[in-house]
């Protein structure tokens, strides 16, 4: 798994806390509020996803820690597949989307490479990119939040 350039990363959500920090020998140290003792490699944006998710059966998500409260008109572009996230078509190209980029449903916002195939991922929403939530070259899972977007 590709490692990010971050040296420290912390996430706190209702009932759940996660902190990852590079240790002295360069290995990530992970502590999580779930009390697991063994280190695990966590993909930074951990499931479960929150209210922005299309309505799954309520019982399936009720036991999950809840996500932060959503602001008005803010949504997320989520990964429709498992693979490696790239911000641009090639290492030399400009990124498809930056904070401030205006997108419509068919705008290509990134590439996800799965099994040697480069898939162009469309925004499937109309609005303005607020934040890029994953790193270039980072492995992503299904449903993982890629971009924060202000809808409209």
């Amino acid at each position: 798994m590709k490692r990010s350039e971050l040296s420290e990363f912390a996430v706190e959500e209702e009932g759940f806390k996660l902190k990852i920090r590079r240790g002295g020998n360069g290995q990530p140290l992970v502590s999580s509020g779930r009390g697991s003792n063994s280190p695990f490699i966590a993909l930074p944006d951990l499931p479960p996803t929150a209210a922005a998710q299309p309505a799954v059966q309520a019982p399936a998500t009720s036991a999950a820690p809840s996500a932060p409260k959503e602001e008005e008109g803010v949504g997320y572009i989520k990964s429709p597949m498992v693979g490696t996230f790239y911000r641009a078509a090639s290492p030399e190209s400009k990124p498809f989307a930056e904070p401030g980029t205006k997108v419509v449903e068919t705008t290509v916002v990134c590439i996800i490479e799965a099994m040697k195939i480069m898939n162009e991922i469309q925004a499937e929403a109309k609005g303005t990119i607020l934040e890029v939530l994953v790193e270039n070259g980072q492995p992503v899972e299904y449903g993982q939040r890629l971009f924060k977007i202000k809808q409209g």
Binding site: M1, R34, S36, S38, F40, I41, L43, P47, P48, T49, Q53, V56, Q57, P59, A60, T61, S62, A63, A64, M81, V82, G83, T84, A114, M115, P139, E141, Y142, G143, Q144
Partner: protein, 454 residues
């Protein structure tokens, strides 16, 4: 050297595989659907990757996403569990071409045994007794009815692409045959995408006795004894035990040898099961081979003391089986009850929902293979099995008494389960005497007042 395994499954079997990997010092990657975020094995695995939405077709059956996850997490092998993609020859092939070890047999063995008519033909040529019937799929109704008359009624019409008790219809005479034949074809087309059917004599009140096979990649194939799985409802197993109360040691030797011949004919490697029907006279007939680890594998594990999942991983790693047929002893009697989230009083309607209090039994001679816990929400998208309760002891009587005792302690509040049903069966004279055949459940339900098992 296998150092990391992706578990392409869920529920209790995924947990089972995580445990075996832990003991072998192998890292685990759980792939899961959005409905399984809170699943126990996802929490316990070293890594976890979400591969899709709640429906199986959108997640656990997505071979592309599973292989993608395997690549980004750099795994060495995939354990497919049972169900889902475990008997999908194409998936096994994809793993092979991506240089990821598929923990199971070669894809060509899966393909061969996956076509039930080809499987039957293959083992027949190896001298394994099979049920009299058509030689392969029947072309049309005219041919089918000819076979039926030759073989003698009653007959069973089976889907070539079926298995696991699905896609089967019984006909008792010419008149009902026409109708059942067309229904069977239609159901097969719908369920498996292949309407081809074959015809067999229907053996009345048989026992379902299957043999566990284990083969390595160096040509050694052994059998680990039988499991009697006669207690079934609508062809779904409820209770399994090893050894079978019906087999003599002679019949066991004969059937064991036949099972090995069948596995050899399939050029088999890793774990698999040969299923037989056995009539009251002790005649046995091959019906199908399951080219995967099975739900009821713990029964064989407790009877023989051999850890089947670890052996699967070792075989996949290229290691030789370090024991021979003569080393395998059937030292304990083991019984397994499948605990389903179903309501027996409502015709076994599924009962998904939140488990309030979960308190499993324990003590000497009891094993629980379950992913359930207090507060667990059972998703409605998958099968209803929430766990397996296994009892074992030096004799069948001890195993039965332990099972009854354990079922009495087992608390699962908030949903309906089949625990009371199993308890009633453990107290039933016919089962206690070891006389259950595949006709048992229907008879039991007919003569037992419902309030005794709900």
């Amino acid at each position: 050297m296998i150092q990391k395994i992706l578990i392409a499954n869920r529920g209790e079997i995924a947990l089972r595989i995580v445990r075996a990997c832990r003991e072998l010092g192998i890292k685990t990657l759980a792939v899961y659907s959005e409905a399984d975020v809170q699943s126990l094995h996802v929490q316990l695995a070293d890594e976890a990757i979400c591969i899709g939405g709640p429906k199986s077709a959108d997640s656990y059956l997505r071979a592309d996403r599973i292989i993608s996850a395997a690549e980004i997490a750099d795994v060495d092998a995939i354990h497919p569990g049972y169900g889902f993609l475990s008997e999908n020859a194409k998936f096994a092939e994809q793993c092979e071409s991506c240089n990821i070890k598929f923990i199971g047999p070669k894809s060509k063995s899966i393909k061969m045994m996956g076509d039930k008519a080809v499987a039957k033909d293959t083992v027949k040529k190896a001298g394994v007794p099979t049920v009299p019937g058509s030689d392969g799929p029947v072309e049309n109704e005219a041919e089918a009815i000819k076979v039926a008359r030759k073989v003698g009624y009653p007959v069973i019409i089976k889907a070539v692409a079926g298995g696991g008790g699905r896609g089967m219809r019984i006909a008792h005479n010419d008149i009902s045959f026409a109708k059942e034949y067309h229904v069977a074809r239609g159901e097969a087309e719908k369920a498996f995408g292949n309407g081809a059917v074959y015809i067999e004599r229907y053996i009345e009140k048989p026992r379902h006795i299957e043999f566990q096979i284990l083969g390595d990649s160096h040509g050694k194939i052994l059998h680990l004894g039988e499991r009697d799985c006669s207690v079934q409802r609508r062809h779904q197993k409820l209770i399994e035990e090893s050894p079978s109360p019906f087999l003599t040691s002679d019949l066991r030797k004969k059937m064991g040898k036949a099972a090995i011949r069948a596995a050899e004919a399939a050029d088999y490697e890793n774990a698999g099961t040969i299923e037989f029907l056995v009539d009251a006279k002790g005649n046995f007939y091959f019906i199908e081979m399951n080219t995967r680890i099975q739900v009821e594998h713990p029964v064989t594990e407790e009877c023989t003391g051999i850890d089947l999942i670890k052996q699967q991983i070792r075989v996949a790693n290229g290691e030789k089986l370090d024991f021979d047929q003569g080393d395998i002893k059937f030292e304990k009697h083991a019984i397994e009850c499948r605990i389903n989230a179903e309501d027996p009083s409502r015709n076994f309607a599924p009962s998904p929902g939140t488990i309030g209090l979960y308190y499993p039994p324990g003590g000497h001679g009891i094993r629980i293979d379950s992913h359930a816990y207090s507060g667990y929400v059972i998703p409605p998208y998958y099968d209803s099995m929430i766990g397996k309760l296994i009892s074992f002891g030096s004799t069948r009587k001890v195993a039965l008494e332990r099972m009854y005792r354990a079922l009495s302690e087992y608390l699962i509040r908030g949903i309906k389960t089949t625990i009371p049903l199993h308890k009633a069966i453990m107290a039933d004279p016919v089962f206690i005497e070891g006389k259950a055949t595949t006709a048992y459940m229907e008879d039991f339900m007919n003569r037992t007042p419902p309030d005794l098992f709900s």
